[in-house]
């Protein structure tokens, strides 16, 4: 699988504040790559650097294997932070400028993307008269102009209502199915989990982990159990062994096993043999959220 974007030890500081510390990872072609992190973790700084809006102090990056060059940036549809448009121009006129700069899109294509984000009716109104959600939709339309092979979206669902959020999620999914590479930063984990194939998790400028979703999440199997006598159950499981973590919370026993070693049948049989009837036996797939909290909590 070839690489779309690769980062080599990117560091960036604002005065004494270190926003990114030697961050390196690669984004494979065709992936939906989520960049996650709490507010202030450096997501937007990272995206700004690869779009040449900010200059890294040290380190380097390359798009399509070539060092930073504007002509490479033209192939990327981007939405960075807030929607930035000329307030006195209409949606169509603003997209004409996007098209003139990037070389992406034709007049027909401008109509198409405006239709796609449901702005056709207001395409001739000035940008300054738009609501927050409409501005965000226009920014998404600008990113989609000319069917770019790469999309870079920073908090794409900002300011959208629940229906809008769902529509954008569906849009991202259908674009991903067409083989478009999508790099997406978000603090809405639910959003990312539903669409991403790869993730990178940042915290205070440090890259905690990066890779395929299954690799990042599936370090362990998690099994949840419950029985009438929790003390006896705990003792029984402790005797059985083979786990890495055993803890009780909310009247449930949570057991972490090394990846691929949890055997539900064996657990059930072992408990039954020891006179414990299980009320709950759950092979819990780990959520991105729990992994995220585990990694980002101090």
């Amino acid at each position: 699988m070839d690489t779309v974007l690769s980062l080599e030890a990117i560091s960036k500081s604002y005065g004494r504040i270190q926003a990114l510390k030697e961050v390196s990872f690669t984004v494979p072609r065709g992936s939906v790559f989520g960049i996650l992190g709490p507010n202030g973790s450096g997501k937007t700084t990272l995206m700004s650097i690869v779009l040449d809006v900010l200059k890294a102090n040290t380190g380097s990056y390359s798009w399509f294997g070539k060092a930073n060059h504007p002509s490479e940036r033209k192939k990327i549809g981007s939405l960075l932070e807030t929607p930035n448009f000329y307030h006195y121009l209409s949606a169509t006129d603003n997209l004409n400028i996007t098209s003139a700069i990037s070389g992406r899109g034709t007049p027909e294509d401008i109509s198409r993307v405006l239709e796609l984000v449901k702005l056709s009716e207001r395409k001739n109104s000035r940008f300054s008269t738009y609501s927050l959600g409409m501005k965000q939709r226009l920014a998404i339309a600008a990113a989609l102009l000319g069917n770019p092979e790469i999309l870079l979206l920073d908090e794409p669902t900002n300011g959208l209502d629940p229906v809008g959020i769902m529509e954008i999620r569906d849009l991202i999914r259908s674009l991903a199915q067409k083989g478009i590479t999508i790099i997406i930063a978000s603090h809405l984990l639910d959003e990312v989990e539903k669409v991403c194939t790869h993730v990178a998790i940042l915290k205070k400028g440090n890259l905690l982990t990066a890779g395929h979703v299954n690799e990042v999440l599936a370090h362990e199997d998690i099994v949840e159990l419950a029985a009438a006598n929790m003390e006896a159950l705990k003792q029984c499981i402790a005797d059985m062994g083979g786990f890495s973590v055993l803890r009780e919370e909310d009247q449930r026993l949570q057991i972490h096993y090394p990846a691929g070693t949890a055997n539900m049948e064996a657990i059930n049989a072992h408990c039954f043999r020891n006179g414990i009837t299980l009320q709950l036996l759950l092979n819990k797939k780990r959520s991105l959220e729990s992994k995220f909290f585990e990694l980002t909590n101090d």
């Binding site: 809006v53 200059k55 807030t82 000329y86 004409n96 400028i97 700069i101 600008a142």
Partner: protein, 275 residues
């Protein structure tokens, strides 16, 4: 290059302030010259001795070829109007954050500043066209018999363009550095109207001969007061001719200063974070 020009035109063509500026320039340039022409005519058509004296001393500053010089001189007072537009065009990019978006969409930092340089060139060009039209109009109106001398003193066209471009470049530089429209406008107006004038008066009073090197005076001294200013006695004549002799030097200094301003813009913009 053509694509940069096209993009900048897309930004400007529906910007109301651009058309307002153009409208006001179209009114003020001919207007201010019209007022002076009117005053001149009132003086010189008087039948008494003062009238004939005025005619003798002033000549006909609005007839060809003097019109090129006279109209350039009076029009240049109104560089403030296009300067406001130039400051708005760059500070808008900051307030709309489109200075970031243009880069994100695929321009290099160099292309962004080149686009702005084109804006300033276009506006200087538009203003110069208005000046040329006013000069021709008043030239024909003031003395149609002199029309055959229209090719003389054509150097005032490039000088007027250069002066406008140089002073608008200073306005651009302020907007580029300060980023906030009102602060940049305030500094520009205060310096242009107050500070430099006080400095010039003070330095002249102290007889320190460096006034012609001040940022606006450099280019102001390319368009010296109209020829009649030299007709008020021997000293005035000598002063006028000395000022005229310095024009080539002032033109070179203006080009140097303006080049430095744009080089600074390119260099600064290439290095900084666009926040």
């Amino acid at each position: 290059m053509l694509s940069l020009l096209k993009t900048e035109w897309l930004k400007i063509r529906k910007y109301p302030a651009f058309w307002w500026m153009l409208g006001i320039v179209l009114l003020t340039y001919p207007g201010i010259n019209g007022i002076f022409l009117n005053v001149y005519q009132q003086f010189t058509t008087r039948k008494d001795a003062a009238g004939s004296f005025a005619k003798m001393v002033l000549g006909n500053p609005f007839s060809f070829p003097e019109t090129w010089h006279t109209v350039a001189y009076f029009s240049s007072f109104f560089v403030l109007l296009p300067a406001i537009l130039v400051i708005m065009l760059i500070t808008n990019e900051y307030s709309f954050r489109t200075h970031r978006q243009n880069i994100i969409d695929g321009w290099s930092r160099y292309e962004f500043i080149t686009g702005k340089l084109m804006d300033v060139l276009i506006i200087s060009g538009v203003v110069t066209v208005v000046y040329i039209a006013a000069s021709i109009g008043y030239g024909i109106y003031a003395d149609p018999d002199n029309l055959n001398r229209w090719t003389e003193q054509l150097q005032y066209i490039p000088l007027f363009f250069l002066q406008t471009f140089a002073q608008l470049s200073i306005a651009f530089f302020l907007g580029f550095l300060v980023k906030k429209a009102f602060i940049a406008l305030g500094i520009f107006l205060f310096y242009y109207l107050v500070v430099e004038n006080i400095l010039v008066a003070y330095l002249k009073y102290k007889k320190i001969p460096i006034t012609r090197f001040l940022p606006f005076e450099v280019s102001d001294n390319m368009l010296v007061a109209p020829a009649f200013a030299g007709n008020f006695g021997k000293d005035a004549k000598a002063g006028y001719e000395a000022a005229l002799a310095l024009v080539p030097q002032q033109a070179i200094l203006t080009i140097v200063l303006t080049t430095l301003i744009w080089l600074a813009c390119f260099r600064l913009h290439n290095r900084k974070d666009l926040s």
